[in-house]
C-alpha cells in the first residue's frame, strides 16, 4: 500500500520490467529519451544506466498569471505524450488543469506530495507572480507569491515553464500593471531552470523533466538559466533559411517572390539572430513545422522582454527614429553653428591681420 502511494519507491527499470517491457524495449525508450533530451546517440547507454536506477519524481505544477498555453503545449507533446510522461517519467501530483481533484481535495494532494517527498520533489511553475497586489491572482484564497514560497520551500528544484514564469512574459510587458515578476526573482535558494518560450516547445519541457528523472540533476544552463542543450544555439544559426541570409536574399513582404522562394525573413523583422531556442531543429506539432518554416519571422518569444523589443516586424538593430528627418534638422543646426564658428574664425583672422605690426630688421631680437 505504501508502495502504491509512493511511486518513488520503485525504480523506472523495475516498473518497466514489471509491466513486461523487454530490455530491447527499454533501450528503445532510452533512445527516444536521449533524443528528447537532445543528447547525442552515444549517450544512450549512459541514459539507460541511469534510467535503470531512476525513480519517478513527484511533480507539483503551479499555475499563476498565465494563459494555460504552456499546459496546452505540454499536452501536445508527442514524444512522450503527456500520458507517457505522467505514467513513465513523473508522478504529477498537482496540476490545476489536468488533475481530477478540485477544491480542498486538490490542495490536500499538493500538501501530501510536499510532505511525502520533502526535499525531493520538483516544482513546475507556469505564469508570472504579481507583486503589485497579491490579490491580483490567487488560488484557493492563497496568493501566488505565498503559494510559490511555501511550495518551493521543500522542493529539490524549480522549473519555470514558459516566458511568463521564466522572465515575466506578457504580464511583465510594459507598463506591467500587476508588477509581475519571474520565478527566479522570488526563488533564490533553489535551483531554477527556465524553460522559456511562449509557449515553450513541448519536447523541451519533457526533456528537462526527463533529464531530472534520468540523472537526478538539472541540465547545464546558460546565463539566463535555460538548458544549454535546447537553448545553446540561436534560431538564426540553425535556421534552414540561413544560406539565403548569407547570400543577401530577403523576402520583402509576406507574399512576394522572395517569400514564395523561402528566402530569409530578416527584413520582415525576424528575431532569429537574437533568439535562443530549439525550434529550428525540434520544430512543433510532431515535427510538422515551426514559425520560420511556415513563413513568419521568429518573434523571439523565448527571450526576456520579447514583447517590448519595438515591434515584431522591425529588425532589432534598426533605430526607432526617423533618421533622415532628424539628420536634416541636425545638419541644418550644424550649418548654422558651423557658419557661426567659421565667422568667428574669420574675425579672429582679420583681427590678427589688423593687429599686425610690421616686422622690421630692428625687431628680430627678443628683448629680455
Amino acid at each position: 500500500m505504501a508502495e502504491e502511494r509512493n511511486p518513488m519507491a520503485k525504480t523506472l527499470g523495475e516498473s518497466l520490467r514489471q509491466s513486461g517491457v523487454s530490455r530491447r524495449g527499454f533501450l528503445k525508450f532510452c533512445s527516444a529519451t536521449a533524443s528528447m533530451m537532445a543528447l547525442p546517440p552515444t549517450m544512450v547507454s549512459a541514459v539507460a544506466e541511469s534510467l535503470e536506477k531512476a525513480k519517478r519524481p513527484s511533480v507539483i505544477w503551479l499555475s499563476f498569471q498565465e494563459c494555460t498555453g504552456c499546459t496546452e503545449s505540454l499536452t501536445r507533446s508527442h514524444s512522450p505524450t503527456v500520458e507517457n510522461l505522467i505514467f513513465d517519467y513523473v508522478s504529477l501530483d498537482y496540476h490545476h488543469t489536468l488533475q481530477v481533484a478540485s477544491g480542498s481535495a486538490a490542495e490536500a494532494a499538493r500538501e501530501a506530495a510536499m510532505h511525502d517527498n520533502e526535499g525531493k520533489y520538483l516544482v513546475v511553475v507556469d505564469g508570472s507572480i504579481p507583486l503589485g497586489n497579491p490579490g491580483f491572482s490567487t488560488i484557493a484564497g492563497i496568493s501566488n507569491l505565498q503559494m510559490l514560497e511555501e511550495t518551493v520551500a521543500g522542493a529539490a528544484a524549480v522549473v519555470a515553464v514558459g516566458s511568463c514564469a521564466a522572465f515575466g512574459g506578457l504580464p511583465h510587458a510594459k507598463p506591467n500593471p500587476t508588477g509581475a515578476v519571474s520565478v527566479s526573482e522570488i526563488v533564490k535558494d533553489k535551483p531554477v531552470v527556465n524553460v522559456s518560450g511562449c509557449p515553450p516547445i513541448p519536447t523541451v519541457i519533457t526533456g528537462v523533466l526527463a533529464h531530472f528523472l534520468t540523472f537526478g540533476s538539472l541540465p547545464e544552463l546558460d546565463s539566463l538559466g535555460r538548458p544549454m542543450v535546447f537553448f545553446g544555439k540561436s534560431i538564426h544559426d540553425r535556421c534552414y533559411r540561413r544560406p539565403f541570409y548569407d547570400k543577401g536574399l530577403f523576402a520583402e513582404t509576406f507574399d512576394d517572390e522572395g517569400a514564395r522562394k523561402g528566402w530569409c525573413l530578416f527584413r520582415l523583422g525576424c528575431k532569429g539572430p537574437m533568439t535562443y531556442n530549439a525550434c529550428a531543429t525540434t520544430k512543433w506539432n510532431q515535427g510538422a513545422s515551426w514559425p520560420v518554416e511556415s513563413g513568419h519571422g521568429c518573434l523571439g518569444c523565448s527571450e526576456p522582454d520579447f514583447w517590448d523589443t519595438g515591434g515584431f516586424y522591425n529588425a532589432l538593430s534598426i533605430p526607432d527614429s526617423d533618421v533622415i528627418r532628424n539628420a536634416a534638422y541636425v545638419v541644418g543646426a550644424g550649418v548654422a553653428l558651423g557658419a557661426a564658428a567659421g565667422a568667428l574664425n574669420r574675425r579672429k583672422q582679420s583681427k590678427a591681420a589688423s593687429k599686425h605690426e610690421t616686422v622690421t630688421i630692428d625687431d628680430l631680437d627678443k628683448k629680455s
Binding site: 546558460d222 546565463s223 539566463l224 540561436s234 544559426d237 541570409y245 548569407d246 547570400k247 543577401g248 530577403f250 530578416f266 527584413r267 539572430p273 537574437m274 533568439t275 535562443y276 527571450e303 526576456p304 522582454d305 520579447f306 517590448d308 523589443t309 519595438g310 529588425a315 532589432l316 538593430s317 534598426i318 533605430p319 526607432d320 527614429s321 533618421v323 533622415i324 532628424n326 539628420a327 541636425v330 545638419v331 543646426a333 550644424g334 550649418v335 553653428l337 558651423g338 557658419a339 564658428a341 567659421g342 565667422a343 574664425n345 574669420r346 583672422q349
Partner: protein, 220 residues
C-alpha cells in the same frame, strides 16, 4: 536599464539619436570651420590649372609614393588592410546594408557573411599590430598622444564588439548587439573632436595640396 533588452532599446533609440546629433553637427561645424577660413588670393601668374591637379592629387595620394612605401611598408600595408577591412565590414556586411536601407533607404549588394567575418578578423589583428607599431616605432611613439590611443580604441571597439556579437561570444545577444551599437555610437561621438575627422577633411587637404602644387606646374 534593468535588462539587456532595455539596454538595447536605449542604444538604438535615444542613444543613437544623441550620437547622430553629435556626429552630424560636429562634422558640419568642423568642415565649415575649415572651409570658411578661405584662402588669400594668389596673384602669382599660374603655370598650371588648380582644378585638374587638385582632383588628381585627391586620387593619386591613395597610392603611396614609392620611396615612402619602401621606407615604411608596414604603415602603408597595415593602413591599407585595416582601412579596407573596416570599410568592407562596415558597408558590405548584409545586416549593415539592411540597417542603412531601413534608415536612409539606400541599398547595395553585400558579400557573404563568413567572408566579412574573415575580413573583420584580419582587420582586428591588423589594428592590434598597428597599435604595437604605434607604441614601438620611434616616430609614431613620439608623435602619439592620448588622442591617438583613444581613436585607436574607439575604432577597434566596434570591430571587436561586432565580431563578438556575430560569433555570439557575449551573452545574451541583445547585450552583444547593444554593446556593438553603443561602440559605434561612441565612435560617432568621438569622431568630430579627434583626428578621425581626417575621413572627411583629407579630401580638402589633398585638394589644396594638389591645387597649390598644380598652380606651380607640379603634380603633387
Amino acid at each position: 536599464m534593468s535588462t539587456s533588452v532595455d539596454f538595447l532599446l536605449w542604444v538604438r533609440g535615444p542613444g543613437f539619436d544623441i550620437a547622430l546629433v553629435v556626429f552630424l553637427i560636429g562634422i558640419v561645424i568642423r568642415l565649415l570651420e575649415v572651409l570658411i577660413l578661405g584662402r588669400k588670393p594668389d596673384f602669382a601668374e599660374p603655370r598650371g590649372a588648380e582644378l585638374g591637379a587638385g582632383l588628381r592629387t585627391l586620387v593619386t595620394r591613395t597610392l603611396p609614393e614609392q620611396g615612402s612605401f619602401r621606407r615604411s611598408p608596414f604603415t602603408v600595408v597595415g593602413g591599407y588592410i585595416w582601412h579596407i577591412g573596416f570599410f568592407i565590414s562596415l558597408f558590405l556586411f548584409i545586416p549593415h546594408i539592411e540597417l542603412i536601407n531601413a534608415t536612409i533607404g539606400l541599398s547595395w549588394p553585400g558579400i557573404a557573411s563568413n567572408l566579412v567575418d574573415a575580413v573583420a578578423a584580419v582587420t582586428i589583428v591588423t589594428l592590434v599590430a598597428m597599435l604595437f607599431s604605434r607604441m614601438s616605432h620611434p616616430v609614431k611613439r613620439y608623435l602619439s598622444g592620448p588622442e591617438d590611443y583613444l581613436t585607436w580604441l574607439v575604432t577597434i571597439l566596434p570591430m571587436i564588439t561586432g565580431y563578438l556579437a556575430y560569433h555570439r561570444m557575449i551573452d545574451p545577444y541583445p547585450l552583444a548587439l547593444g554593446l556593438h551599437i553603443l561602440s559605434v555610437e561612441i565612435l560617432m561621438v568621438v569622431f568630430p573632436f579627434t583626428k578621425l575627422m581626417h575621413a572627411f577633411t583629407f579630401f580638402i587637404a589633398r585638394w589644396y595640396n594638389g591645387a597649390m602644387a598644380g598652380r606651380r606646374g607640379v603634380q603633387s
